[in-house]
Symmetry: T
Subunit: 68 residues, 12 copies
């Protein structure tokens, strides 16, 4: 079987600034234990509120990576 295969895991990245930074943080964190990451898909966006202001942006990502 020469055809490539991939796995997807689900990660939640967070940021106090933006959805893009939450995404970047989640992927950076995942990179500490995972190699060969190739793409991500946004599954959910939410966040926490403190004192009537956004406290944290939270982005749930599916991350795809090649299976050797």
């Amino acid at each position: 079987m020469a055809d490539a295969a991939f796995k997807k895991i689900e990660v939640v990245g967070t940021s106090t600034k933006s959805y893009a930074e939450a995404t970047a943080n989640g992927i950076e964190k995942a990179s500490e234990s995972l190699h060969g990451m190739s793409w991500f898909e946004v599954v959910e966006m939410r966040g926490s509120i403190v004192d009537g202001k956004v406290h944290q942006y939270q982005v749930t990502l599916k991350i795809g990576f090649k299976v050797d």
Copy 2:
């Protein structure tokens, strides 16, 4: 009944700059009449176009808050 209960309302925040700012603006506006907001969920993202450029980012949020 000691178990907590929450309500969710739906708000559309807008910004000329980013989805994150549209989110923050929507929550800030909601905070003028609502206390105890705890979290938000992004339901929809869209916007308006003027002269071939993004004019406004619009983010629909569900906002959860505790019922006393």
Copy 3:
């Protein structure tokens, strides 16, 4: 028939910085061949990863424009 009609097309904008810029880029690109664009809806958000970091934010948009 005096009632207005609209069409929607689907475009993917990209950016190395943020979802908002990816959106703006997709609409700017579409404006080169399309006039009368009025609104956009975000359909999908994803991106590519290189060396364990976000390489590109990709936002799929439906763009609505008036049919003359």
Copy 4:
């Protein structure tokens, strides 16, 4: 913060004649207690049956209105 914000509420309008009239009735009813309504989105369409015939068309709407 000069950017506009909106709220959405959910209303079910009913009619014995059509989905359009059910929509119109729901909005007319909502207008008794709500000002500044700007748009609606159809969320669900259903109805009741009596004696093997449609008895009532029911349309669930999200109604958007500007927050002052």
Copy 5:
């Protein structure tokens, strides 16, 4: 077990005039072989086009009825 139970079947009604009439026609047709129908839910709306005009409105319904 005294609690009531219901079944749902799926029916497509058609009309050359409107979605409401397509709904009514589907339910009237179902009533020829089915008794105790109580409610319907709209699942899908589509139709056929002939010579650049709507030829038929088609409404797929779930119809709920009590099981004796």
Copy 6:
């Protein structure tokens, strides 16, 4: 306009025991400020975990009530 109209609000009920009790608690809480409630729809089910065990069942409900 004699046709009835309804509104729906969204409530999250919680319980340490079951989804049914979380539902009942959410509705009981809503009944303190709302009259004429007629039906509910389950929108989401989730919960919190403490020390490797379910700590709280959380059920998000849409509650429908008649508008006078």
Copy 7:
């Protein structure tokens, strides 16, 4: 053709106590006229409210059974 085939029907079970009992009641009722039932899938959960309390839990199920 030796490969097995299945059908699915849709049933609504009800209970005054819990979602699990509503499920069990719906399946028990279906078993009166149907043999060879093999699995169920929960499609929808809702219920009725009387005097500010849950009156009935309603669970819509798809039930799969083998076709001989």
Copy 8:
């Protein structure tokens, strides 16, 4: 390759009267520049509100047509 192929485009039709007329208007408008239209699918229903009344019904359609 003798097997037929089709394309789908997305159109928004509008009407001040009903969803059916909005559908018919959208298809009639599309027919000015498109031939061979065969079927439509309703994707979204919404509208605008002016002075507390429905001002316009808007129906988003996918229109399928044969590719020669």
Copy 9:
């Protein structure tokens, strides 16, 4: 009422070879007790695994047929 009406039933076809054969088998099986079948829609695709290999492809279909 001269407008045609249709029903849809849900069937699961299976095959050890492909999704297309699973589809064909499900329809062939349904044809033993049902006449006038006109179209099908794929609702779900899944299957069973034995010894680390696909054992069976399973395709859930909605089958539409005319009601006389």
Copy 10:
């Protein structure tokens, strides 16, 4: 603006044999008028039935291609 942009169109491919061939046929047909196609996404699978057997497999695809 150096960031790439893409468009997506929606095509229905058909085959009397399999979903894979229906996909290939749809893309081959689209290639007659479209260059730079890069990927496809399956949106819907359905088909027609004649004399109790599958007559045609139909696969709706979104096709993505680069905008120069």
Copy 11:
């Protein structure tokens, strides 16, 4: 990067009694190999039927836990 990150895994818990117990069992089982679990989301509810009665309730959960 000081912002927290989370992972989600998907688990199916089972019970012969209720959906709540199936949930609790799935989380208890996951706790044997996983620490720091914080919340769960119900993704799917189904079950098996034996002799016309519910044999097993099955609840698919996404479980979120902090990544150190």
Copy 12:
């Protein structure tokens, strides 16, 4: 706790020939590091295009396996 528990992982299988082979390849690849796989669910189907022809069929699967 004697009730069985399962986990689900997400895998993308690929093939140059068909969706069924892409499925089989993904499962075969997963079997190299995973035992006790019991069923799969198709989550997404897509693929790549080269020179106006399908280059690769890609099937995203959820694979369920028993947790000992």
